[in-house]
């Protein structure tokens, strides 16, 4: 009796999950592209930092450029301005990353809400039943959760990195590209790709119907 009852709700949940994974795929693509766009920007932060360092090392009155008034201050101003612009752009990218994170969180929340609503009719055995083409509901919820955690952590790390930058701390600015790269964990990326492979049959199966 109960298994017959739970079939419709499990189907509905599977539908939502399917949609979530489709979203995850697009999200992952957006995430990747945004990160790829960030790389030159971060590189230029490092560049500008090096230029600022060079400027602070040189003593302009001792060079042929001494004829130009206030050259050091002007150059410094220009470089800082450029740095500001780059950081502004990076912030925009950050907002994009945030939107990816949020949209994924919303998907997950929707799936969970649906599950909680129907939790009385969905018994645990139905939730943990796996078939050759489809993983169990529990597994899929878990993967979505892990992906959410990954996005949250990645976003937070990048955000704190950008927040910690100070215009007067040159060494920190110079090391920005390396630190940005080091935040990329291959295992986390792979996990999401793996997940998407694992659910590919399940996601595709719907399209066939």
């Amino acid at each position: 009796m109960s298994s017959e009852m739970s079939i419709p709700s499990s189907l509905a949940l599977q539908q939502v999950l399917r949609k979530s994974f489709q979203h995850l795929e697009t999200n992952q693509k957006t995430w990747h592209s945004v990160l790829a766009e960030c790389i030159p920007l971060v590189g230029s932060v490092g560049n500008l930092a090096q230029q600022l360092r060079a400027l602070s090392n040189v003593n302009i009155p001792n060079t042929p450029l001494q004829a130009f008034p206030d050259l050091q201050q002007r150059l410094h101003f220009k470089l800082v301005l450029a740095l500001d612009i780059v950081l502004e752009k990076l912030n925009e990218k950050l907002v994009l990353l945030q939107s990816v994170r949020d949209s994924h969180s919303n998907q997950l929340m929707a799936a969970f809400q649906l599950y909680e609503r129907d939790a009385d009719t969905l018994d645990l055995y139905t939730c943990t039943q796996r078939s050759p083409v489809a993983p169990s509901i529990a597994d899929m919820l878990e993967w979505l959760q892990n992906a959410e955690l990954y996005y949250k952590q990645q976003f937070l790390k990048r955000k704190t990195l950008l927040h910690s930058l100070m215009p007067d701390d040159l060494s920190l600015l110079e090391s920005t590209p390396e630190r940005w790269d080091s935040l990329e964990t291959s295992s986390g990326e792979e996990y999401i790709t793996d997940t998407l492979f694992r659910v590919s049959f399940f996601v595709e199966s719907n399209k066939g119907e």
Binding site: S105, F112, Y115, E116, A119, D123, L124, Y125, C127, T128, I137, A138, D139, L141, E142, Q145, N146, E148, L149, K152, Q153, F155, L156, K157, K159, T160, H163, Y191
Partner: protein, 748 residues
């Protein structure tokens, strides 16, 4: 069925999942991701239930993301759990939480504005189930924020709450990780007994600038920053500091004197500066106490001009002066020889306050014993008040040793017979024999005396009564003394012909009252150096005062203390000793260092002293105040008259040679342990022994016994009357009528 706890998968780290089998989930009515509380190792962990990926039963993996603080300090998990240790919780969405944030470095705390920290915390906490007084571990985010301590949740409930995007996060404080972890580690502090007043005063100094900084600044006063604790060893100075620091949650930087002293010139000063820098850094993270233990070794009185210690002293002085208002740490020094400190250290601005912790009074001892024995299984026969009365002169450390020894006795006793492990009074009595008060340990008059009861002294009823009046009554009935406005006498002089039990009387008095008992003779005091004897006597009094109530016994006082009226030169050692004694007996007052017990009630505590308390304190004063002198002499005429006036040796008791009745009593006591024939007539002997002293009578009995052995061989089993008469014939009395006459003329 118990669950085996396995380490969690790396993919689960930070997910707050608790992996269990499906069967367990359904028996507990758990759904996927529903919050569950796990009781482990004295704490709880809030998780979300999740089935294991292989769906097997009997195993459990926990992610310790949200736990009670004690699990952070010791994350060792038991290897198995019972299913009853899981409790499903209902869950509500939270509107509001109050948190304390634990960050890694002071730098981050200083540089990062609060709204950014707030944003970060909000991001981290979103989707996490929390519970009041739990700590959320966010170390795996690799951010500067390490832990988030949930102080309050709203709506307030005991169940789990989910932090959502709509939950507002209020940060009530930030702490550094080091400070937080130390606080967790230092939590369990042993309570201290009998030091409440000192404790409160120290805590007040620590907390005032911390909690009411604006009040202090508006008053325009700077808070005291230095306290000197002075007191004899073992009263608990170091423990007190540790306890207060633990209570306030401050960090503690300890400097032990010898540790900072280096061999190369300048090394010690540098070490000292480093210590102050460390304290300053700690003070940035929270309240901090810099504790200079045994400060007398670090800062001795400066002498000469170029001693290397002088530089250390100077460095310490400048460092203490150089603390500015922003340095919010308190310096506490502890010493048992405050007089050997450099005087420059003891002025306001350096050590502002000096707290004297004397040897504990009777009430304090009772409190200390109460704390020490709090965890011991005591038999109902143990009377703490009685024990406190017997342990005169014991400091906290001695009492600790005493209770430990008593417990050991109980264990030894219990090993012989099986039964309930209880410590009763007999164990404490046994321990009292082995643990002696450390106050008197190095004192020169410390004597071990075999206890003598009043019954063992024949006759002398009047003298006994007078002694009991002046020694035992003030101890046992302080309320009666208070009521009638009486004071216990300062001193008692026993005089009388030799051999009439003066010394034995004192012994009995000491045994009957549980006082500490010091006995000095001329040999203890005299020394070839000028001034040494006087100092020894003064020191003796000082020690005696430290462990009052105390009886100081000066036997043969006429030889120790001279008289100014006699023909002796006015500057002899005896007359100088006399002046010391007069001063000590009736001096102007105590030295501040010898203060004991409770002196003042703190205003800040808002604690009114009830009249009953006050009365109790007064009683205590009666028996705690003074050292009692008992002097004995057989030449009262050679004593200085100043010594004999009321207020000094005010009870002058003549111990007469025994009259016939007394002689009979003495003979009874002496023959009590001897097998005497039925024909022995003690009354006849008593009548025949006119002018015999107690000592003579004892000798008479001994002689009779020896004569018996001589006559009848070693097998003799009873003493005949003839032997007594024989020995009486052989002896002559040691007293003469003329001698007795001189005693009976009243003392001028």
């Amino acid at each position: 069925m118990s669950l085996r706890v396995l380490t969690q998968d790396s993919a689960d780290r930070g997910s707050q999942r608790c992996r269990v089998g499906l069967g367990l989930m359904s028996t507990h009515g758990l759904n996927l991701g529903s919050p569950v509380l796990v009781y482990i190792a004295g704490g709880t962990c809030l998780c979300t239930a999740w089935p294991r990926s292989d769906l097997t039963e009997g195993f459990m993996q926990i992610d310790l993301k949200c736990v009670t603080p004690n699990l952070i300090a010791q994350p060792s998990l038991k290897l198995s759990l019972g299913p009853s240790q899981l409790t499903p919780l209902t869950c509500s969405k939270l509107r509001h939480i109050k948190v304390t944030v634990v960050v890694q470095s002071v730098d981050f705390r200083k540089k990062t504005p609060l709204h950014i920290i707030n944003e970060l915390v909000k991001d981290m906490m979103k989707g996490v189930y929390v519970r009041k007084k739990h700590v959320v571990n966010v170390e795996d985010w690799d951010a500067e924020i390490k832990y988030v301590v949930v102080e309050e949740v709203s709506p307030d409930c005991d169940d789990a709450g989910l932090v959502t995007a709509k939950t507002s996060v209020n940060i009530v404080g930030t702490q550094t990780q080091r400070h937080f972890q130390r606080q967790l580690r230092d939590k369990p502090v042993d309570p201290l007994g009998g030091l409440d007043e000192v404790c409160a005063s120290l805590r007040e100094m620590l907390e005032l600038p911390l909690f009411y900084p604006s009040t202090l600044s508006s008053l325009g006063v700077s808070c005291p920053r230095g306290v000197l604790l002075a007191g004899p060893p073992g009263v608990g100075k170091t423990q007190l500091v540790r306890r207060v620091v633990g209570e306030v949650g401050a960090s503690l930087v300890v400097v032990r004197g010898p540790e900072v002293v280096g061999s190369r010139p300048g090394e010690s000063e540098e070490a000292l500066r480093a210590v102050f820098a460390r304290a300053r850094a700690e003070a940035d993270e929270g309240p901090c106490v810099l504790f200079l233990d045994e400060v007398d070794s670090l800062c001795p009185r400066r002498m000469g001009s170029s001693a290397p210690e002088n530089r250390v002293v100077a460095q310490l002085l400048t460092l203490m002066d150089g603390m500015d208002q922003s340095d919010r740490f308190l310096i506490v020094g502890a010493t048992n020889r405050p007089d050997s400190l450099d005087p420059a250290l003891r002025r306001p601005g350096r050590f502002d306050r000096e707290v004297v912790m004397g040897a504990p009074t009777q009430q304090q001892r009772e409190a200390i014993l109460g704390v020490l024995c709090g965890k011991m299984p005591l038999a109902p026969s143990v009377d703490m008040a009685d024990l406190a009365q017997r342990t005169v002169g014991y400091v906290g450390a001695d009492l600790g040793a005493l209770s430990r020894e008593a417990a050991m006795c109980a264990i030894r006793h219990d090993a012989q017979r099986s039964g309930g492990q209880e410590i009763d009074m007999s164990h404490f009595q046994q321990a009292l024999k082995t643990v002696l008060p450390s106050c008197l340990r190095s004192s020169l008059g410390r004597t071990d005396l075999a206890p003598v009861s009043w019954e063992q002294i024949g006759g002398l009823q009047d003298v006994k009564l007078k002694l009991i009046q002046s020694i035992e009554w003030p101890m046992k009935h302080p309320d009666a003394f208070m009521r009638l406005g009486l004071r216990r006498p300062r001193g008692v002089l026993l005089y009388g012909p030799p051999g009439c039990a003066k010394t034995t009387l004192v012994r009995a008095a000491a045994a009957a009252s549980h006082c500490s008992f010091l006995s000095v003779s001329g040999a203890d005091l005299y020394s070839p150096y000028v001034g040494d004897s006087e100092r020894a006597l003064a020191q003796l009094f000082q020690q005696a005062r430290a462990c009052t109530p105390c009886i100081l016994f000066l036997d043969e006082i006429d030889t120790v203390i001279g008289s100014r009226s006699g023909g002796e030169s006015p500057n002899s050692v005896q007359t100088r000793l006399l002046s010391v004694l007069l001063n000590e007996l009736d001096g102007v007052g105590f030295k501040t260092l010898e203060r004991r017990g409770t002196q003042r009630v703190l205003q800040a505590e808002g604690h009114e002293q009830s009249p009953a308390d006050q009365q109790k304190l007064d009683y205590q004063e009666v028996c705690n105040k003074d050292v009692m002198i008992i002097a004995a002499t057989n030449r009262p005429d050679s004593l200085d008259s100043a010594l004999l006036r009321p207020g000094r040796l005010d009870q002058i008791i003549y111990v007469p040679p025994p009259d016939p009745e007394a002689r009979l009593a003495i003979l009874r006591v002496c023959t009590g342990s001897m097998p005497v024939d039925a024909d022995v007539c003690l009354e006849e002997l008593a009548a025949k022994t006119e002018l015999y002293s107690g000592a003579d009578l004892e000798k008479l009995c001994k002689e009779a016994a020896l004569l018996t052995l001589q006559d009848e061989g070693m097998g003799a089993c009873s003493i005949k009357h003839t032997n007594f008469l024989k020995s009486l014939d052989a002896m002559s009395p040691s007293l003469t009528a003329q001698q007795i006459n001189t005693y009976q003329t009243p003392l001028s």
